[in-house]
């Protein structure tokens, strides 16, 4: 591209176009664009948080999301956490997420490590079967029959075991492990280390990035999962948060702690938007908290794992 005739200084030799110092107009343009993008992301979050902190009267009067604050009210959050069903669901989701992530990581790391070592037992057929899972899902009914037949229905295991291993995550981990120089492992073997010690002492410490990212994938998956709970969990005491959230946010069902005034029997008012938005805030907070800690690993973990293989 030529810059002749534009009035701009000729670029220093050896610098690419994007390495030049931007012009003032360029800076303003970029700044404006980035500000707009940031606003586009933050504005929905702002309205959601603001609506969750508004009174029911304000939300009803506005008839939608609140844009201008009219006082801060924590009523929505108080109502949500004074409901034992929601509190219990938070506990169930936390346990399933932590337990599930540990199990998934353990199984996936073990599987990926064995598949990353050519010549290990059943390497090719096992790898083929994992790759097959990319294109062939067994289907809901066969999995249901399996879960039911194993006696897992209505147990927390039904929320973990059917989704414990993701073929995608195993492949990402495997690719990352294969990138570790074989010489390091060979030297460990010469020093007398077994496969478990090599995995634990050498491979995993060198794979913190990908392990953290895959762990995040699994954790977010368990936290958000509702389909398996909908299918397998009959007892409402065992419902995870995602299933409860769906009832309140998507289906507009009322919270049992909702104040109903003269409302009628058996015809509870749906939750106000404030409560819906407070539930949304509660649902996204864990991901918002975890993400900054994992973010620095994200690019390395996923990209390196994805392009080698």
């Amino acid at each position: 591209m030529t810059l002749l005739g534009t009035g701009r200084a000729r670029k220093p030799a050896g610098l690419a176009a994007w390495e030049e110092a931007p012009s003032p107009a360029g800076r303003v343009g970029k700044g404006t664009l980035l500000t707009l993008i940031v606003l586009a992301v933050l504005f929905p979050l702002y309205t959601i948080v603001l609506t969750s902190l508004s009174s029911a009267a304000t939300v009803n009067r506005v008839g939608g999301l609140v844009l201008v604050p009219e006082g801060i009210h924590f009523d929505a959050y108080i109502q949500i956490f004074s409901d034992s069903v929601v509190s219990r669901a938070v506990m169930v989701s936390t346990i399933v997420t932590i337990g599930g992530t540990v199990i998934s990581l353990a199984v996936s790391v073990l599987g990926a490590y064995s598949l990353s070592r050519p010549g290990s037992f059943g390497h090719r057929p096992l790898l083929f079967s994992v790759l097959l899972m990319f294109v062939f899902f067994p289907g809901i009914i066969p999995v249901y029959l399996m879960v039911s037949g194993l006696g897992l229905k209505d147990s927390y295991w039904s929320l973990i075991l059917p989704t414990a291993v993701s073929a995608f995550n195993v492949v990402v981990l495997r690719a990352f492990f294969m990138n570790i120089p074989g010489e390091i492992m060979d030297s460990a073997r010469i020093d007398g280390a077994g496969e478990f010690r090599i995995l634990w002492r050498i491979v995993l410490p060198m794979s913190k990035a990908v392990t953290a990212v895959v762990g995040l994938f699994y954790a977010v998956g368990y936290w958000n999962a509702w389909f398996n709970a909908m299918l397998y969990i009959d007892d409402t005491r065992k419902w995870p948060l995602a299933l409860i959230l769906r009832q309140y946010v998507v289906d507009s069902n009322p919270l049992p702690t909702a104040t109903l005034g003269v409302s009628g029997m058996g015809h509870d008012a749906p939750p106000t938007l404030a409560i819906k938005m407070a539930i949304v805030v509660i649902a996204v907070v864990p991901a918002l908290i975890i993400y900054p800690f994992v973010q620095r690993h994200f690019t390395k973990g996923v990209i390196v794992g994805a392009i080698k293989g």
Partner: protein, 546 residues
Amino acid sequence: MSSQTTRRGFLGLVGAGVLAATAGCAEKRELSKGTAVAADKLKSLVPNRIPFAIPGLSPDLPGSEFVNPGFVTRPAQMVQAVTTKPLTSGKEVTAMTPLWGTVPPGLGDNSYYEAVNERLGGTVRFNISDGNTYVEKLNTLLASGDVPDMMQIPGWNIITIAHFTEAANKLFADLSPYLAGDKAKEFPLLANYDTAAWHYGVFGGVLQGIPWQNDPYPLATFVRQDILDELGLAQPKSADDMLVLGKELTDPKKKRWAFGAVDQEIQRAFNSPREWRNVGGKLVYKYETEEFAASVEFVTKLFESGWVHPDVVANKDADQKAPFGSGQLVIYKDGPGSWHEALGRFLPDNPKFDMRAVAPYPAKPGGKVIVWRNEPAGMFTFIKKGLGDARTRELLGLANWCSAPFGTQEYELVNNGVEGKHYDVKDGKAAPSALGRKEVAPTYLFLSGRPGAISQSQYPGYVQAMWDWQTASSQHLENDPFVGIRVEVPSKMAGIAQPTEDKLNEIYRGKRPVSEWKQIVKEWQDQGGNEAREFYSKVARENGRL
């Protein structure tokens, strides 16, 4: 079910899974072709109706075939309708029901369940599932054959389930041996149902579903009377009046628009049939009528004029209750049941909130008024097949107990729980306690149906207004050619309805010209509409309706 699984058993399960997956693929290829059962055969399958009179209780406003009895005040004494405990075997009953309300604590943590189970003489263990995703679970359970003792299935889910009738015939009990004709005397509250509702419980020529009786009217036009009064405007008496109201009410600066979705009410006002109509010996579907085409033009005009709330313009499924409550939209259509729900929701924050149902109106002043007739039953409770004679009778006894109508102690217990614990009555108005709001969920309610009543006397003027509206509407009910015949909609026809409705919504919103409507109707005919006509015409001819 045993929780022990051997290696051989595990491999067997894998095999079963593969077979089921294959069967699942086959199912998607062929959907239900629909079935129909003639009126005379239906009579031999269903109970003879024996009205159940509650001793010492008479409504303030009398009921009739198409008008529910109204109770302007809450009865001081509720009557015990069933004196014996229906569950006698000591076996636990498993039941699956949908939930559109508050998620209740489970059995063991729920005093409402304990109170009702104590009264029933046994334990009912509910598997409740989100009503909006219920069909996902239904599909899986029906395909796997893993059904509970009692299962509630909404009709709108049934038409989307491939081979439902075959599955129902295989998995659920035939109830005719226990209920047909005078046999239903053993279950007097089930015999109290409308016969037309029972007809709808017949699937593939077998009585299987205990019906949830619908009110006769699917829709009403609602207005914010307080806003009309404030502006000195009157309710519409014809669709033409809508044009005047659209102009007078819409004021975007004040964030007020005249309309939400009113399309189906306009179709009705223009005399389009709800579904099929016999025109000169030929069945015509609503899309094919001139009346429907005129309504499309009219509704498009409402959108074009900017009189429809922008949320509704942007999203046909937008929530209209909230903007109606806030006064952002003044006129919309909804089910009649939404009336008292809205009063419960908005009156506490806005005592001036005054919602009214508009008496059925024609397209032009002095024109013919029709009111669509709702399907007589909307949901069904099924009993598992193969449980044995005694157990099936026991479960029918449970359904009978749950069918007790308004005015009975059973109704109060099922709907509200225990007085003084789950609800309190003050000045003749019942209000749920904190515990009631938490624990009482519509569960036992879905193990049967019951005749309707207008009983929400806690809202001043509501009972009389609803009774007046039903009385006015009953004068104009239009029967379709299939009243009294049980027709299961062919899946193909059910499948083409939504794409056609989507195109219709695009016309309303200006994304397609109105002139395309004829082409859309042609596509509907070619893609299954004509096939559906053949099926329905055959049914109509066989029953002497054509």
